[in-house]
């Protein structure tokens, strides 16, 4: 248990959580049929990246630059979410569905 505790509060713990979140995010993106589901996965991925930055900022550099980048990630995520949802709504109006497979106008 102590081993687990010390791991969890070390850099590796953070990295592990980050990696897991990343993997789950990728999985989510790849398996959801729903465009909103894909968005959920992307949010997870972005959070994972933020965790890594913050972790390195604390455990290795001791500077706040990592946190700044994490902040930027958040801001970009917010912007991305807004645009993505707007696109989804638009797409829904167009196709009456938000199935990602239907979004294939580019094919031909």
């Amino acid at each position: 248990m102590n081993h687990l505790l010390s791991f969890s509060s070390s850099l590796q713990g953070y990295l592990a959580v980050g990696a897991i979140l990343f993997a789950l995010g990728i999985f989510c993106v790849l398996t959801r049929k729903n465009a909103i589901g894909i968005l959920l996965g992307i949010e997870l991925i972005l959070n994972a990246a933020g965790i890594n930055f913050v972790a390195f900022s604390k455990f290795r550099t001791g500077l706040i630059d990592g946190q700044i980048v994490a902040l930027f990630i958040m801001l970009i995520a917010a912007a991305e979410a807004a645009v993505a949802l707007a696109v989804i709504l638009r797409f829904y109006r167009l196709k009456q569905t938000i199935d990602a497979d239907e979004a294939s106008i580019l094919r031909n």
């Binding site: 993106v29 790849l30 497979d101 294939s104 106008i105 580019l106």
Partner: protein, 690 residues
């Protein structure tokens, strides 16, 4: 004293400000303000003059710094950059001040009656107040810069007053002509001032006198000429412009378009005399420059003669007086040129008095008969006794009849001229023209008197309405006429016996004091003294003779009609034509120089600017750009675009068709591919890690 003297110029200036701003709303349109202001000036100027009379000499001055410029420079003689201005009171100034204020006051007074009821009455007084201020400022100036400023302001007033009847095209033409002609001289005069600053770093009269005495500035050249000569000529140009000397005399006769008091004040008594005053102020410099004085003398002599000739044929009473003024100014300039500058100055003063009187009398006549044409007058002697008497006295004075002021001063100029020609062999033309002019002057002046006052009335209607003027107009006439007697000036007449009878000689004493100040006190050798004595004696006789001849001829022609003027006119033929048309100066200047030359040149240049510089050189670039654009555009279209760009596109589209087969349109498939690639990349990246 010098500070108080500033008041003399300040009073009229204040009057000008009041008049121009609120004059229209004041009772009587504010004429009393201007009159009181100039009266104030007269009151301040009189003690200065009295001091001169009682003590024989006045001198005072004060200076203030006007501009002090900071800077540093190399390569010039004087790096002084402080412009100091001030007031100089000396004997010349004292006399001029009294003369100017007195004349101006009298003429103001006259104007109250003469201009009564005119449109823009208040502005008239504003203008002549400004003029008085400028003229008095000019007299008071101790340096050429303020002198020049006042000089220009007088020009402005002259312009405004000549064009006072601004609805009359002839008046505004005359005004612009006067301004521009004098400005030609002014501009060059300013170059002279610049030259003075260049060599001396100052334009203060006293400093200039001192510098000339010390001989600084010799050897310096301007434009390759000796600096002093350059400056001297430039100053002379100023005089030529302002005092209407040949060849810039053309503006003065036209200036008679202005109201008559203006002609009296500006174009007879004061402003035009300022040019001569300038020559007198700058006399040491002219003398030191050597080459200038003879030119001055010739200019004066030629002007005097040519103008007098024109005066003979004029029929407009004011024009006669105008040409007479030019002629008399020529005398003065000639006097200065031959070295008799005290005589010149004296003639300036005496001429101011009697010419002002003449002009005012003519104004009185014009006001009475409402015409200027002498051919429509005649027989006014009984109708206007005071006018006639005063005008006759003034005519005697200008004609050089002994006992009157004109005789004294003119005789001394002629004497000086004769002495000059005796001393400098070859310059006989100067005294000759002088004497001839004296005769002609007497002739045309009496012609004018006869045509105006004697004989029978040529226009009954106008004659019937003629009447004597009120006191405000006649009193100035009488005062000015009184000043036309020789006794006022009491200078040496050249006749020893008379000189002894009237020993006052204040004028000569005053002028001697001035000469001392200027550092040019004459110390004649005994031989020279003898020559002068001889010349003056000779001149006296000749001038009396020619004047008498002139009066005689005039009397038999115009009073007794024993000779017919018409016959002479026909006899003279082309000569008459030449003189009647004023030697075609106006035609030359206006017709050829300005209309044909300047305006066409302007038009040409403007067209050049618009059509060539702008359209070709500047807009031409646009055309070049257009052509280039077309050529490059073609090249771009055919070669670059069709062949190279579209060709690339064809290649690409072929390749694209191949690659397109991979494109399913399913986002997640792309993502799978992407992630695969990333994993592979990460895998290889990890290989590098331990």
């Amino acid at each position: 004293m010098a500070q108080q003297a500033l008041l003399i110029a300040l009073f009229p200036l204040i009057a000008f400000v009041i008049q121009s701003l609120i004059g229209k709303k004041l009772p009587r349109h504010g004429d009393f303000i201007s009159v009181l202001a100039i009266l104030g000036s007269l009151v301040v100027a009189t003690p200065i003059f009295m001091k001169l009379i009682t003590e024989g000499h006045v001198f005072d001055s004060f200076q203030v710094t006007w501009m002090s410029l900071r800077g540093a420079e190399a390569g010039r003689l004087n790096s002084a950059v402080t412009i100091v201005i001030g007031v100089l009171i000396n004997n010349l100034t004292a006399i001029m001040l009294l003369m100017v204020t007195l004349c101006a006051f009298l003429i103001h007074l006259f104007s109250v009656g003469y201009m009564h009821g005119e449109e823009r009455y208040h502005l008239f007084f504003a203008y002549i107040s400004l003029f008085s201020a400028a003229m008095l400022g000019l007299v008071l100036s101790d340096n050429l810069l303020t002198f020049f400023i006042c000089w220009e302001l007088m020009g402005l007033c002259s312009y405004l007053l000549i064009g006072f009847y601004y609805k009359k095209p002839s008046a505004i033409n005359a005004s612009i002509k006067a301004f521009m002609t004098t400005r030609v001289g002014d501009t060059l005069f300013f170059m002279g001032i610049a030259g003075l600053y260049y060599i001396y770093g100052t334009s203060n009269f006293m400093s200039i006198y001192k510098a000339i005495e010390l001989g600084t500035g010799h050897g310096v050249t301007i434009l390759g000429y000796p600096a002093l000569a350059f400056i001297g000529f430039m100053v002379l140009m100023g005089t030529i412009g302002k005092s209407a000397q040949f060849p810039l005399h053309v503006w003065l006769p036209d200036a008679m378009e202005g109201p008559t008091p203006v002609s009296a004040l500006i174009h007879a008594a004061t402003m035009v005399a300022a040019g001569v005053f300038l020559l007198i102020r700058m006399f040491p410099l002219l003398e030191a420059a050597h080459v200038v004085l003879p030119v001055v003398a010739y200019v004066g002599a030629i002007t005097a003669f040519l103008a007098a000739l024109i005066a003979i044929v004029q029929v407009d009473i004011k024009k006669v007086l105008a040409y007479s003024t030019i002629s008399q100014l020529g005398y003065m300039v000639m006097g200065v040129g031959v070295g008799a500058f005290s005589a010149g100055f004296m003639h300036l003063i005496t001429h101011a008095c009697f010419k002002a009187c003449l002009f005012l009398c003519s104004g009185s006549v014009i006001h009475s008969v409402h015409t200027q044409d002498m051919r429509e007058m005649g027989g006014l002697k009984s109708k206007m006794p005071i006018t006639f008497a005063t005008m006759f006295i003034a005519t005697l004075a200008i004609s050089g009849v002994p006992g009157f002021s004109g005789f004294v001063s003119k005789d001394r100029i002629l004497g000086g001229a004769l002495a000059y020609s005796m001393e400098h062999q070859g310059h006989y033309l100067i005294p000759f023209l002088g004497f001839a002019t004296a005769g002609i002057t007497a002739f045309y002046m009496f012609r004018m008197i006869y045509m105006t006052f004697f004989g029978h009335a040529r226009d009954e209607h106008k004659h019937h309405h003629a009447h004597e003027q009120p006191f405000t107009m006649t009193i100035p006439l009488m005062v000015l006429a009184a000043l036309s007697f020789a006794i006022v000036f009491a200078g040496p007449t050249g006749i020893e016996s008379i000189d002894h009878v009237m020993p006052v000689k204040w004028f000569d004493h005053a002028l001697e004091g001035v000469q001392v100040e200027m550092g040019i006190a004459e110390h004649l050798s005994p031989e020279a003294e003898a020559v002068h004595h001889k010349a003056h004696g000779l001149a006296l006789i000749i001038s009396l003779a020619v004047a008498g001849l002139g009066i005689f001829l005039s009397s038999i022609t115009y009073l007794k009609h024993l000779l017919s003027a018409e016959k002479f006119k026909r006899m003279a033929g082309p000569l008459y034509n030449l003189v009647w048309n004023k030697y075609f100066f106006d035609e030359f200047y206006l017709g050829i120089f300005i209309k044909k030359g300047l305006l066409n040149f302007n038009q040409m240049l403007a067209t050049f600017d618009d059509k060539v510089v702008d359209r070709i050189f500047v807009d031409g670039w646009r055309d070049i750009a257009m052509v280039t654009k077309n050529v490059i555009g073609k090249f771009d279209d055919l070669v670059v675009d069709r062949l190279m760009v579209d060709g690339t596109a064809d290649v690409m589209s072929g390749g694209g068709w191949v690659l397109r087969q991979f494109q399913t349109g399913k986002v997640q498939q792309y993502l799978v591919l992407t992630v695969m690639v990333i994993i592979v990349a990460l895998f290889f990246a990890n290989l590098g890690l331990k």
